[in-house]
C-alpha cells in the first residue's frame, strides 16, 4: 500500500529537527531555510504546525511544469523534481495551491518534498511522533484531498 506522511500538529513541539534532517538530506548542510518541510508557529495559541507536500493526486505542480521536470516516483507516489531538467521558471510555485513548492534562489531550481525515496528523514528525526510515515489510509489524506478538490480547476472524471 502507498504510504504517506501523517502529521499530527498536536504532538509537535516546534523543535525543527524535521527541518534540520530534511535540509541535511537534500542540501548536505543544516539549513532550515532550505527544508522541504516547514514548521509554522502560532505563538499566541501555543500551536506548531509541520507542513509539507501531501503528494496530491491533482499534482498541479507536475501539470504546470513546462519541461516535464516534475514526475511521479512510481514506488513512493512522490512528485519529484529533477534538478537537471528544472529550468527554474517557478510556475509550479504559483500553481500549487498548497504552497509546498518553493524556489531555491541559490540553485535556481524549485524544491519540494520527495519523500526521500520512500524513507522520509523528517519522520525519522521527529522526537515526538508528530510526523510519521504510514499507510495512506491513516493519514487523513482524504480530508486534505477534499480541500484540494475545491481548488481543482475541474471535476476529475475517473478516467
Amino acid at each position: 500500500m502507498q504510504k504517506s506522511l501523517l502529521i499530527d500538529p498536536g504532538k509537535c513541539t516546534g523543535c525543527l529537527q524535521c527541518e534540520l534532517a530534511c535540509s541535511y538530506d537534500n542540501e548536505g548542510v543544516f539549513n532550515p531555510a532550505k527544508s522541504r518541510i516547514k514548521v509554522f508557529n502560532f505563538h499566541d495559541q501555543g500551536r506548531f504546525v509541520p507542513y509539507t507536500c501531501t503528494q496530491c493526486d491533482e499534482a498541479w505542480c507536475l501539470h504546470a511544469c513546462p519541461v516535464e521536470a516534475i514526475t511521479v516516483d512510481r514506488a513512493s507516489g512522490a512528485k519529484v523534481v529533477a534538478d537537471d531538467i528544472c529550468v527554474g521558471c517557478k510556475v509550479c510555485t504559483i500553481a500549487c495551491p498548497f504552497g509546498t513548492v518553493n524556489y531555491n534562489q541559490s540553485t535556481g531550481k524549485v524544491m519540494k518534498c520527495d519523500l526521500c525515496g520512500g524513507d522520509p528523514e523528517c519522520a525519522k528525526a521527529c522526537p515526538t511522533g508528530a510526523i510519521t510515515y504510514v499507510d495512506a489510509d491513516w493519514t487523513g489524506l482524504e480530508r486534505m484531498r477534499t480541500w484540494a478538490a475545491k481548488t481543482d480547476a475541474g471535476q476529475r472524471a475517473t478516467a
Binding site: 507542513y51 519541461v67 517557478k90 510556475v91 510555485t93 475545491k150 480547476a153 472524471a157
Partner: protein, 411 residues
C-alpha cells in the same frame, strides 16, 4: 473515436496524453507547425541564458513519448475548419476528419505598426528559430533594445542580461508590466533594473527603426535615438484564430468556450492561449499562461472523450523573475469595488505585498521579492475560504498569508 488536436504546445500535448488515458481505443492526431518536437516557449529564456540546450525546452523528454502513447504527430498547419463537415483542411493540402477537435493553436506575437520592424536584427522572442537568431546577435557587450516591458519582455530581459549585453528597455505604458503590477511594485522593479544597469524608458514609444551602418537606430517619441545591433520585440501576443474565419466557431479575443471547454460548435473544443474561457474572477478571458493551458488541455480532453468535467475558471496568475527580482500576481490584485486592500512595502529590500479582498475572502494578490509558499495565495483565492478574524490579521500584516492559510484552510 477520432480526435484531432490542432497545436502542439502544452495544451495540445496534455490534451493528447489525457485523451490516450481517457480513451485507450481512440485515434489521436496532433498537428504542430514547427519543425522541432513540441517544446515550451516558457523555457526559451533559459535557453538564451545558456542554462539549457534546445532539448531542455522539449515538453517531453522521452524520445518515443508520442509514439509510445500512440499519438500521431503531423508537422503541418490547419488552414480551415469545417464544423459541419467535421473536418479540417491542412496547409499542405490534406484533409482530416474528426469526431472531436481541439483547437490549441496558441498565440503569436503582436507586431506593432512601427516602421522598420522587418529589418534584419529585429526579432520577436517566441520560437526556437527566434531564439537562435537572437543568440547570434546578443553577444557580450552588444547594444540591445527590448521593445516592451510586459510579462514576456521582463522574462527575456533576464536572459539578455545574462548574456552580457547593454540593454535598453522601451515600454509604451507609464510603468513596467502594467497588466501584472501596480505603480508601486512597478516602480520598485524599474529601480531594481536600473541598479542592474538596464536603461528602462517607460512612457516611451518606438517611432521607427532604421538601418545605420552595420547596426540599427531606434527612434523614440522622446529622448535621443538609441543605437542597437539587436532589437527584440515583445509587445504582447494575440490568439491564433485567423483560420477559423467562416468555420462557424464563435470567436472574440479567442475561441469562446463554455465550462467544458467546448466552443459554440459541438465537438469542437479549445484550450490554452487560443481559448477565451471562464475566468475564475468572473466573465470570460484569454489567460495565456502555462497553468491555464495545462488545466484547459486536461479538461477539454476529458470532455472530448465523453467524461464530463467542468471547469471552474482560470485564475490569472504570473510569476516573473526579472534579473533576480521575483514577482508574482494573482487574480484581481487590482481589487473590486468596496473591497479592502492590505499592503506592505520595504523599498530598500525590494519587498512588497498587496492583498485584495472581497469581504473576508482573498481575491487577488501582488508580491515582489517573496517566493516562499506563494502558491497558497492561489489556494486561498480559488477555494474562496472565509478568512474570518484572519482578515484583520492580514490587514495588519499581509506577510502572514501563509499563517492565514494554515489557520483557515488547513488546520
Amino acid at each position: 473515436m477520432k480526435y484531432v488536436i490542432a497545436g502542439a504546445g502544452p495544451a495540445g500535448v496534455i490534451a493528447a496524453e489525457t485523451l490516450r488515458k481517457a480513451d485507450p481505443e481512440g485515434s489521436v492526431l496532433m498537428i504542430g507547425d514547427e519543425p522541432e518536437p513540441p517544446y515550451a516557449r516558457m523555457a526559451i529564456p533559459y535557453l538564451l541564458a545558456g542554462d539549457i540546450g534546445e532539448k531542455g525546452t522539449y515538453l517531453r523528454k522521452s524520445k518515443n513519448h508520442y509514439k509510445d502513447l500512440r499519438i500521431d504527430y503531423l508537422q503541418d498547419r490547419v488552414k480551415k475548419v469545417s464544423a459541419k463537415q467535421r473536418e479540417i483542411v491542412l496547409d499542405g493540402g490534406g484533409r482530416r476528419a474528426f469526431d472531436a477537435l481541439l483547437i490549441a493553436t496558441g498565440a503569436t506575437p503582436i507586431k506593432p505598426r512601427v516602421p522598420g520592424l522587418d529589418l534584419p536584427g529585429v526579432h520577436h522572442c517566441w520560437t526556437l528559430a527566434d531564439a537562435r537568431a537572437i543568440a547570434k546577435r546578443a553577444k557580450k557587450g552588444a547594444d540591445v533594445v527590448l521593445m516592451g516591458a510586459g510579462f514576456i519582455g521582463c522574462i527575456i530581459l533576464e536572459s539578455l542580461l545574462s548574456r552580457g549585453v547593454t540593454l535598453t528597455v522601451v515600454e509604451m505604458a507609464e510603468r513596467m508590466v502594467p497588466r501584472m503590477m501596480n505603480d508601486k511594485a512597478a516602480a520598485m522593479l524599474k529601480r531594481w533594473c536600473a541598479a542592474k544597469g538596464v536603461a528602462v524608458k517607460t512612457g516611451t514609444k518606438v517611432t521607427k527603426i532604421e538601418k545605420s551602418g552595420r547596426g540599427l537606430t531606434v527612434h523614440l517619441d522622446r529622448g535621443k535615438p538609441v543605437a542597437a545591433s539587436l532589437v527584440v520585440v515583445a509587445a504582447g501576443v494575440k490568439s491564433n484564430v485567423g483560420f477559423l474565419d467562416g468555420s462557424g466557431v464563435k470567436v472574440k479575443q479567442g475561441v469562446v468556450v463554455d465550462d467544458r471547454l467546448q466552443s459554440s460548435a459541438p465537438g469542437i473544443f479549445a484550450a490554452g492561449d487560443v481559448a477565451e474561457g471562464p475566468d475564475f474572477s468572473g466573465g470570460w478571458s484569454v489567460h495565456a499562461i502555462q497553468p491555464t493551458a495545462a488545466d484547459h488541455g486536461r479538461i477539454a480532453a476529458l470532455n472530448m472523450a465523453g467524461h464530463p468535467a467542468r471547469y471552474k475558471g482560470s485564475l490569472a496568475m504570473n510569476v516573473l523573475d526579472t534579473a533576480g527580482l521575483i514577482s508574482a500576481s494573482f487574480g484581481r490584485w487590482d481589487g473590486v469595488k468596496g473591497g479592502d486592500f492590505a499592503e506592505a512595502a520595504d523599498k530598500a529590500a525590494y519587498r512588497y505585498i498587496r492583498l485584495a479582498f472581497d469581504g473576508d475572502r482573498l481575491i487577488g494578490a501582488l508580491a515582489l521579492g517573496l517566493t516562499d509558499h506563494v502558491g497558497v495565495i492561489r489556494g486561498l483565492i480559488q477555494t474562496g475560504v472565509a478568512l474570518g478574524d484572519w482578515k484583520q490579521k492580514l490587514m495588519s500584516d499581509p506577510h502572514r498569508v501563509m499563517d492565514a492559510y494554515l489557520a483557515r484552510a488547513y488546520a
